[in-house]
């Protein structure tokens, strides 16, 4: 390749125990990072060390161990906020990105939306960006409208502008990078247009924060949701970033310990941000692990991470296109897409593809990818999806292509 990738996947792989070759020399070709990433040893060690050396419940503890636990927990929050240029007070830990979006739908939407108000989502949303709004719309009388996609897998921006201008849109809830099409949506531009019409914007950044420089301040949105486990961190922790002035005006989502300033028999007062939205014991070890993941990503450099993704996607688009009859969904320009490559073969169902390539140790996902409205828009029930990350190289793409040829030959036997 003429433009050498700035990431050295062979070097990176040494940090991931699960990706090490077995004694027989077989190697896992993991192409499902859009579902969850593998975890570097630095993350596992940070969590292990926390449990072994600093485990205590956070906040309010007077003894030194509790202070140490609190410091490590809050260090995780600081690392996350720094990574995405978010205000610390508006960086809230949730269980996952789904809970982060639900938090906004319930704590903001339920109290704000009125009958006939419009929540704009898109046909390329993950179910987590659709269902919470449908639930809250049903309770408030608001309406959920879907921005359509064009045949090449981009958003129909004319429809968006027309709807913003003609309907009482109060919220635009939109994915930054599609988990199926790979499309990178121009979210900063959409935020500016939505704000001009008085709508708030929530960006689902689950597929962008792990893969490219993302700035909450730069995008200018009101809320941003993402999850830890897709960005080298553990499961069980997600992030909602919100503009503090909006979060301050919202009522809590879940009630309980940690989120109060005072509890009396005649009522309670809420804690300051971000604790107001973190009821109960938070994901402490998970914050420690996520903090380590942020540091790991920063040390690689997210510009380099993105350059590596574009490099691999360019290679994969070319390699897959050479397979007879293979259809790739989403933009063909690697600069306009992420590393999730959904494809379809006329003679092999996605389930069979995933089963057959697994025989060659190639992990790809098959199904609707929690995006059934998008599947309907594409006119398919399911796709196979290969998605890359920092530990993948062009050998992995070659392994996929070889496995697809072998799968086809096997079915034609």
């Amino acid at each position: 390749m003429t433009h050498a990738a700035l990431i050295n996947p062979l070097r990176v792989r040494q940090d991931f125990s699960l990706l090490a070759p077995t004694e027989g020399g077989a190697r896992l070709v993991y192409l499902d990072s859009a579902a969850t990433s593998q975890k570097p040893n630095a993350v596992l060690e940070a969590m292990d060390d926390y449990y072994r050396c600093a485990n205590a419940n956070v906040h309010r503890g007077v003894y030194r161990l509790a202070q140490e636990a609190t410091e490590r927990f809050e260090d995780g929050r600081r690392a996350v906020a720094e990574l995405v240029a978010a205000p610390l007070a508006g960086t809230i830990f949730t269980k996952n990105a789904t809970e982060a979006i639900n938090l906004v739908a319930w704590a903001w939407g339920l109290r704000t939306l009125r009958p006939n108000d419009v929540v704009m989502v898109t046909e390329m949303e993950h179910h987590s960006g659709i269902v919470p709004w449908q639930i809250v719309a049903k309770m408030t009388g608001a309406e959920v409208r879907f921005a359509p996609i064009t045949p090449d897998g981009e958003l129909d921006h004319e429809w968006i502008d027309h709807t913003l201008a003609s309907a009482p849109v109060r919220m635009v809830s939109i994915v930054h990078v599609s988990n199926v099409l790979g499309t990178v949506n121009p979210v900063a531009d959409i935020v500016a247009r939505a704000h001009a019409h008085g709508a708030l914007v929530l960006v689902d950044a689950s597929q962008s924060v792990p893969h490219m420089p993302v700035s909450f301040a730069g995008i200018g949105c009101d809320f941003m949701a993402f999850t830890g486990h897709k960005m080298l961190g553990p499961t069980g922790i997600g992030v909602l970033v919100g503009r503090p002035e909006i979060l301050d005006g919202m009522e809590p989502f879940l009630g309980g310990g940690e989120m109060i300033a005072d509890v009396r028999t005649d009522g309670s007062d809420w804690a300051d941000l971000p604790n107001k939205f973190e009821a109960g014991t938070p994901p402490i070890a998970e914050s420690v692990g996520l903090g380590a993941a942020c540091i790991y990503l920063s040390s690689l450099g997210l510009d380099a991470v993105r350059a590596h993704e574009v490099h691999l996607t360019t290679y994969a688009l070319d390699a897959l296109s050479e397979i007879d009859g293979l259809r790739i969904f989403g933009p063909r320009d690697p600069a306009r897409r992420g590393g999730a490559l959904s494809f379809h073969l006329p003679d092999l169902h996605p389930h069979d593809i995933a089963q057959l390539v697994d025989e060659d140790n190639v992990c790809v996902r098959a199904g609707h990818h929690c995006a059934k409205p998008l599947m309907r828009a594409l006119g398919v029930n399911a796709t196979a999806r290969a998605s890359t990350y920092i530990y993948n190289d062009t050998d992995d793409i070659d392994a996929l292509v070889t496995a697809l040829h072998r799968a086809r030959a096997y079915f034609a036997r």
Binding site: H349, H351, D352, Q355, L356, E359, G367, A382, Y410, F411
Partner: protein, 149 residues
Amino acid sequence: MPGLDDLYQQLILDHYRRPRHRGTLSEPTIEVDQQNPLCGDELHITVRIVDDQITEIAHAGEGCSISQSSASMMSDAVVGHSVADALAMIEHFRRVMHGEIVADETILGDAIALEGVAKYPVRIKCALLSWMALKDGLINGTPTAQEDQ
């Protein structure tokens, strides 16, 4: 791929490539839709029942090789049988898929080829999709069965 030969037997690929009873009956006695929520596969089954006998059955929709061949094999197996016999076959197949009993070829016909699917937990749902759809249709959609309930 020797490891997969148990799963993808020739008979399964044959039913997948040349599905029997594919299509939709007009004015069926029973009509049932089933979805596999895991993968989005959809199945539409129509059945004609005359004097408690399944005289015709057809399946339409999209799915993987396992779900499609299973629908084809099931249709072969139940056509010409009474509703009660078909329900017994379905129960036999369900128990085979869950590894509870050994498959009986005299009951299942070609569908015996699906026995190997029981070793692949994720694919059992694919194999069972059409059988559960037919069971649902026979129990909830047959006028006589409804009277019995």
